[in-house]
Symmetry: C2
DNA sequence: CATTTTGTGTGACATATGTCATTTTACAGG
DNA sequence: CCTGTAAAATGACATATGTCACACAAAATG
């Protein structure tokens, strides 16, 4: 009844009526003697046509765009990127923000596995007190004597449980043993049966990403010998999660010194969230992403920018509505 | 569960996800552990909050804003305002655009009453050929011998009927009689019974607005004597529709020289559309609006601006979403 | 300490929107 | 005049959105 020409002619008024006067598509259709579907289609193209522009003020101060781009590029469920400019309180600041991020991931009636690390500890400590009493926290790697109280997995598990007012279950074994044979024996022992059963049934796992270098916690604290560190680095390993090392491309050989969750197991946990802060962890984070274990990534802007640069990501391009 | 503070914090990402990534409100709610309703409410305020701005390019070249403002201010169903800058072809240009406007008002199975006038004639002539064969056109004022063929009501009725491929019904009487007595007699006559029945049952009436001055068609063509014109003007009359004069405030006394539809009858026709072109008709149009007979107004920009100026209308203000 | 107030969560519901498969219509060549 | 094709209308649905009334809990008030 009406030609293409008419439609062009009417785009402006449709835009105005719909976006400014909040008329419904049906009302507009009635006015123009169009079908509702046709109006719907025209409105759907208004932005592409350049007739309507939607501007979101203050986007650049935020990292939303970069977060979304990462989610899309790496096929992650959720990415949080935080500014932590204040080098002084970096850990505190990042911890606080990561804690807020965790808040969004938690829901009642879930089994939550925790790993270890300074960053993870800082985040858990900053979490708000809540009442998720039907959750259960489970320690996913064995105990280790860290200088920093809150980096210890058992301590993290306990603290988190307190925050959520729920029960927790510890892994009563050492994180690292020297002799693979010893590990083998221990892992088979029935004491761990329930623990590993819980780990396997986790709904959510939260862990830190560690780098592999002489300045890394894992080395500094002596959980990794100089020889093993050098060997791993030589083999191309770049980081670890829950003490399990991986290479830059995300591959790994099964570890036989660590008592705790394996990367293979992590892979089957529906929601795995990793935190990392500090640009020196960029390479490790990239490797962590590549393992395919992660669903949620919580990092600071420095890491994000470093990764983005290394891969020459075009943030704007990625967010084009290609879906 | 989440404080006000959180919501503020999340507005930006909600805006981005909703407007740029086209996520649904439910998806967003899930991400943030909000209820869908809360996200809905936040999104509803995004524009007021100044976080989201919607810009429609090229609005000013159009008259949409002014049209909407008029609709709101005068409580009209629809207002069309057309640019007719080319003084040369003013009638042609305006006629063409008015014809398009009519197109939007027409639907099949309706009784359509027509009046008379140069502008109306021009518009009807420019209408596209269509197939609305279940419509019926009815002439709403008696015949008159105009110089301009297409200003005559019967000619307009016939032409429109041809355009719509439908039947038409003429009013076989004079438009104006000198003696009120004669009019009385004629109006009672059974010949007109069917005609006036049709007029009363009109779904749509289209008519022109005339001014009352020495340069007006109604006077020039001699349908109104000098004496009557001067008397009417002296009494405050400013214009006519279907030969029925009205004052600036929209009031009128019943006319007793004209054979045709009364303003009172027009008032009860669901959709009455009036056309007018040329700034000299501004005052008449304002009066026409004030009669309360009109639902649709089709005018040129000059008239619109004149009226807007006289009433000191603030277009932008009117279109604020006060509803 | 009791009591409003305010913000949120919940469940229910009416509308609005997006999408498809199918039919009509309008139009361009043959 | 016939026929293929592209644009629109139609009818039917599944989702998404806007809005209630109501219940709760935390914060503010007296």
């Amino acid at each position: 009844m009406n030609s293409q020409y008419d439609a062009d002619d009417h785009k402006l008024e449709i835009a105005y009526w719909y976006y400014k006067l909040n008329m419904t598509q049906a009302e507009i259709a009635k006015r123009l003697n169009f079908t509702r579907q046709r109006v719907n289609q025209i409105i759907g193209n208004l932005i592409d046509d350049g007739i309507v522009e939607i501007k979101i003020n203050g986007l650049r101060e935020n990292n939303v765009e970069m977060e979304s781009a990462f989610e899309k590029y790496f096929k992650l469920g959720r990415v949080f990127i935080f500014d932590v400019d204040d080098a002084e309180n970096q850990l505190d600041l990042f911890g606080q923000k990561a804690a807020n991020a965790f808040t969004q991931l938690l829901s009642d009636n879930s089994i939550i596995g925790v790993s270890w690390g300074i960053t993870l500890g800082a985040a858990v400590m900053k979490m708000q007190q809540r009442n998720l009493s039907n959750c259960k926290i489970v320690q996913m790697v064995g105990g280790l004597n860290s200088d920093t109280e809150l980096a210890k997995p058992d301590e993290i598990a306990r603290t988190l449980a307190k925050k959520l007012s729920c029960d927790y279950h510890l892994l009563y074994g050492p994180a690292v043993v020297d002799d693979p044979q010893a590990r083998e024996v221990l892992m088979q022992d029935k004491v761990f049966a329930e623990t590993f059963d819980l780990i396997n049934r986790c709904d959510l796992a939260i862990l830190g990403v560690g780098e592999l270098s002489k300045s890394s916690t894992i080395y500094q604290q002596g959980f990794l010998s100089k020889e093993r560190l050098e060997k791993l680095v030589a083999q191309g390993y770049v980081g670890d999660m829950a003490m399990q090392p991986f290479k830059k491309d995300g591959t790994w050989e099964t570890e036989n010194h660590v008592i705790g969750v394996s990367l293979e197991t992590l892979r089957h946990i529906p929601r795995v969230a990793a935190v990392a802060c500090g640009v020196n962890k960029a390479k490790a984070v990239l490797g962590a992403i590549n393992t395919g274990c992660l669903d949620v990534l919580i990092i600071d802007k420095a890491i994000a920018q470093s990764i983005s640069q290394e891969l020459s990501l075009d943030i704007d391009e990625l967010n084009k509505k290609s879906n």
